[in-house]
């Protein structure tokens, strides 16, 4: 998993810019922030995504979160 570490340290409140051409990495850019905000390291973030892709790829086919 390619990770762009350039967005850290992140300045809260100002957000970040993401190139519209990099469609595949928009999720990564956002989720790195989410993961670190919840106390995960970027390494654990990458491990989690690898785990998700290897083991539960079918889960994405029917996501459901009732309110």
């Amino acid at each position: 998993m390619k990770t762009d570490y350039a967005s850290f340290p992140h300045e809260p409140g100002r957000g970040f810019m993401h190139s519209i051409k990099d469609k595949t990495s928009l999720g990564t850019s956002f989720f790195e922030l989410i993961a670190v905000a919840f106390g995960m390291t970027l390494q654990l973030h990458d491990d989690m995504i690898r785990y998700a892709l290897n083991n539960k790829i079918e889960a994405a086919k029917n996501l459901s979160i009732p309110g």
């Binding site: 957000g15 810019m17 999720g27 491990d47 989690m48 998700a52 086919k61 309110g67």
Partner: protein, 351 residues
């Protein structure tokens, strides 16, 4: 609109000043290869000789990069009018972070009664340019608010992961007809059919987030996934704005209890058992575990849905993005993998 008069390519300095002046004012079009009359009205598309300037797009790009600070957004194209003559068209979008300073240290602007860019000498006007540039960031910060109303129970117990996206520059696109019944129906239908979820290094992954409810506001459409009986409460939602902005509002789903049963990872299973066995006072029950893997799927799927809706936009280069997480007290990201257990053994529990 700014024309460079005549058949010759202008000097680098003149190109830089003209583009900077458009970026500092209301944006516009810069065209090379147009003849104008004495009143600066275009009266002939003469073009310039392509053999003299074989790569005009590269030339103007290099000039802009070397003559303007910061480099403004621009889009250039050539239009061949004969086999050997061409016209260069450069579009400079409005709404950029002003001021743009030219290489000679001046700030050029356009005025309605002058065909050429003029250096700004008014302190008030320069202050306004600086303020205009700051307003872009302030407008985005104002956009990044969750303006929904919550009951006391909701606001205290539910963690929200909120993502905000705004195309840059803003104001270039408008999604007309967003409020029509047909468009709303189409948005719901698109959410119910699996679509490609772009993930770095992985191809062919699909997913979807089926929405069940859609309602228009004055400038947006809000799509929600909610059962009719729970319509009184806030739920996962995507708000799509007519100008391309979006708010993705995601509630975290916590495990009902400490996750220790039916775990697949032996490392994580052993770790969780050790935590529970050493917890004489049941303090661990205060922790709120949630499935970070599921949250990742939700985020990438909703972002894909948004990008799918936005489509290919040639006049947008970037997204301005922001993340806000509310009420995440004692929240613990969890996934049933060896990596999670190994990490916690090494660095301690995440919360």
């Amino acid at each position: 609109m700014h024309y460079n008069k005549g058949e010759n390519f202008p000097s680098n300095e003149k190109i830089g000043r003209s583009i900077a002046s458009l970026a500092n004012t209301y944006g516009g079009w810069y065209i090379v290869g147009i003849k104008t009359d004495a009143h600066n009205v275009a009266n002939d598309v003469c073009g310039f000789v392509l053999a003299d300037y074989p790569d005009p797009i590269s030339k103007v790009r290099e000039v802009i990069k070397s003559h303007i600070e910061p480099v403004p957004l621009f889009f250039s194209q050539v239009v061949n009018i004969t086999s050997d003559r061409t016209v260069l068209v450069v579009n400079v979008p409005s709404g950029q972070g002003t001021p743009f300073i030219s290489r000679d240290g001046r700030i050029y602007r356009r005025t309605h009664d002058s065909s050429d860019p003029i250096p700004e000498t008014s302190r008030y006007a320069i202050d306004r340019l600086v303020d205009d540039g700051r307003q872009i960031q302030k407008r985005f910060e104002k956009f990044c608010r969750d303006e929904r109303t919550f009951s006391k129970g909701e606001s205290e117990s539910i963690t929200w992961v909120n993502l905000f996206l705004s195309p840059y520059p803003l104001g270039v696109i408008e999604t007309f007809g967003i409020h029509s019944s047909g468009n709303i129906e189409k948005l719901i239908q698109q959410s119910q059919i699996p679509f490609v979820v772009p993930i770095e290094g992985i191809e062919g992954t699909t997913g979807h987030m089926p929405f069940t409810c859609a309602r228009p506001t004055l400038n947006s459409i809000i799509l929600e996934q909610i059962e009719p009986s729970r319509a009184a409460f806030n739920s996962i939602s995507v708000e799509l704005f007519y100008d391309g902005r979006a708010k993705l509002l995601i509630p975290l789903q916590y495990y009902p209890s400490f996750p220790r049963d039916n775990l697949q990872s032996p490392i994580t299973k052993q770790l969780m058992s050790e935590i529970i066995d050493s917890d004489d006072q049941n303090n661990a029950s205060c922790l709120r575990f949630f499935d970070i893997e599921n949250l990742w799927w939700v985020v990438v799927t909703l972002l894909a849905y948004y990008q799918h809706w936005l489509g290919d936009q040639p006049f947008i280069t970037d997204f301005k993005c922001a993340l806000k997480i509310n009420e995440a007290w004692r929240a613990v990201p969890f996934f049933d993998g060896d990596a999670w257990g190994t990490h916690v053994k090494q660095f301690g529990l995440l919360s």
